[in-house]
């Protein structure tokens, strides 16, 4: 059965499958990097383009596949003899794959925009970048559909398919390789530096126009629309010039460095691009401070020093970035990672005492081991980036001291921590032994 001239058994079902594939891979790949963009519009705009890293390969591959079918199955002659013009088949492929690409990528963009609300938060930041990045993404989907149809001319067909799969990714990789130079503005953007600085909207708009013009040139040339080809070549040339002129300039995002705080015990503060993390940041921080006696509890935990607003006198401030996986700062907070970092920050006291002092070091290590065991955090340091692996033999003494400390009556333990609260919370020497 053939519907709309596409020689597939179930063309509409295949079309839907293609849309779903583009959507699922896009949202899946973007979700992997969610701590970098969730809830902040300029970073989400970068994420919208990230969905094209392999999505464009899918679009290009399918376009090449379908466009090569007549020659592969030897019915090109039949198409030539048909009442419609021979290149109408290519137009059908373009409409079929291009529309799937547009619907799939638009769905991805909408999903990424809607995701913060679905997770109980909201999207902040200037929305213009989102519109422009979505436009650039959709235009590039059309362009790579046309390129896929052009690639179908490569013989043998399996090489055309391999080239169609590799080419869009190679384009992305070359763009990353050229990062910073003016040529990079032709390529995909990703999430780097979009928290406080955003690409100039002119450049983004020019890139969308450039990709649209490329799509038109290729489509018009494979369809033998000569006048349209000529006109769109002029438009391509102009938009390419505009892309180069606009370059890769990053402009400061207004209001991005404003502080956002969430009251509670403790108060937690981040900058606006990471404000989405506040609820999970607050919950993890609350869990951490509640495990300590009042004298040792930080009253404010902040992402960085300049977001700490007017704090009450004597408030205990801890600077600890919200983090998730290898992302720091992040828009999501990994509880275990946060608690591990909290223990290291509070008891590790890097640079505050003489590290050659074995007794103080043992106390510091023992307190960190006690802290990790209290929250069932692995001692091997696997839960946090660069944290000390306390399961090594050299920490045997510290592990023994930690076990003794854990076995103490909680009141005795809290009393000792309170007694030494200044030594623990300020940057100075630690006590030389545990109770």
């Amino acid at each position: 059965m053939r519907v709309a001239g596409i020689p597939l058994n179930r063309p509409w079902l295949t079309w839907l499958g293609l849309v779903l594939l583009i959507f699922v891979q896009g949202v899946g790949f973007a979700w992997v990097r969610a701590p970098e963009w969730l809830g902040w519009a300029p970073s989400t705009a970068g994420a919208v383009e990230t969905v094209t890293i392999f999505g464009l390969s899918v679009v290009c591959l399918v376009a090449t596949w379908l466009a090569s079918l007549p020659r592969t199955f030897q019915y090109q002659d039949t198409i030539t003899l048909a009442s419609r013009r021979p290149y109408c088949y290519r137009l059908l492929v373009m409409a079929y794959v291009g529309s799937a690409g547009i619907v799939g990528f638009a769905g991805c963009a909408l999903a990424l925009i809607a995701l913060p609300w679905a997770l109980g938060g909201s999207l902040s930041g200037p929305p213009l970048t989102l519109v422009l990045s979505t436009a650039a993404t959709l235009a590039s989907a059309l362009a790579w559909t046309s390129l896929g149809i052009v690639m179908a001319k490569i013989r043998p067909v399996f090489i055309a398919l391999a080239v169609a799969a590799v080419a869009p990714y190679a384009w992305y990789a070359v763009g990353s390789y050229l990062y910073g130079g003016p040529w990079q503005s032709f390529f995909l953007v990703d999430l780097r530096g979009f928290d406080y600085f955003t690409p100039d909207p002119t450049g983004w708009a020019a890139r969308a126009a450039f990709w649209l013009a490329i799509a038109t040139v290729l489509a018009a040339s494979v369809l033998h629309w000569k006048r349209t080809t000529t006109v769109s070549l002029w438009v391509t040339s102009l938009s390419a010039a505009l892309v180069l002129l606009a370059g890769t300039a990053l402009v400061p995002t207004s209001g991005a460095d404003a502080a956002e705080c969430l009251d509670g015990e403790p108060i937690v503060c981040t900058t606006l691009p990471y404000a989405f993390a506040l609820p999970s940041y607050s919950a993890a921080a609350h869990e951490a401070v509640m495990a300590l006696p009042p004298g040792v509890r930080p009253t404010v935990i902040a992402q960085e020093a300049n977001v700490v607003g007017a704090v009450p006198d004597g408030a205990l401030i801890m600077l600890l970035q919200p983090s998730s996986g290898f992302t720091q700062p992040a828009t999501l907070v990994d509880r275990e990672l946060f608690l591990s970092d909290f223990g290291e920050k509070l008891f590790g006291k890097t640079g505050c005492f003489d590290q050659s002092d074995t007794e103080q070091r043992t106390v510091s290590d023992a307190l960190q081991i006690w802290w990790r065991e209290r929250f069932d955090i692995p001692l091997d340091g696997s839960s946090s980036i660069g944290s000390t692996p306390f399961d090594l033999p050299e920490f045997e003494a510290a592990r023994a001291a930690a076990a003794e400390f854990a076995n103490l009556d909680p009141q005795v333990r809290d009393a000792w921590l309170t007694e030494h609260s200044r030594d623990i919370t300020a940057c100075r020497d630690l006590p030389t032994e545990l109770p």
Binding site: F158, I159, A165, A173
Partner: protein, 199 residues
Amino acid sequence: MNLFRHLSRMHGVDRRWFLLLAVCWALVVLAGWIGLPQIDPNPVDRTHPLEQLSTFALLLPVMVQISSLTIYSPWVEQTRAVRLRALQPLWLAFHWSAGVATTMVLSLWVLPYGVDSVHAAGVWGLLFAIGSLASSGRTESSLRFSALALFAVLAVMTFPGLLPFSANLFYNAETTILLWIVTAAITVAAVVVPVARGM
């Protein structure tokens, strides 16, 4: 030698095929100078020699070599079917080793410094094994399916953070032993499956 010539002709290996293969390898070498966005998420400052476009571009020579596993001249198969078909695993082994050797030579002398040749050869071997397993139907359609399968595997391995890096056989140089075990297992499957299916 005569037998090798017969096998080559039967599988459509001619001068144009060799030219195509050479062009594809040249593209792989050129792609070796283009670094990929960091795949190893560990922020520790170290070089990532394996993270280069040539790994992704390996898809091209792999597909060319896999194409030669397909029997292009059915009449040859009919006339000398039994003998030549029995040699199919040998033909596959020949291509596998030729590709592994080429990758090792290129990574030793041509690709940027620091690429572990044993690991790179393992990546090639694994891609070839997956591709030949996916195309074990030995038809034009199975060849296309194999291009899709290889692209899917490469995409999953190449996207930063999608797999735990400790399980990333392509770009983590510390997984060389595991990579070769997986490569060996899939290569054996690629030899056994077509034989079991009577191809």
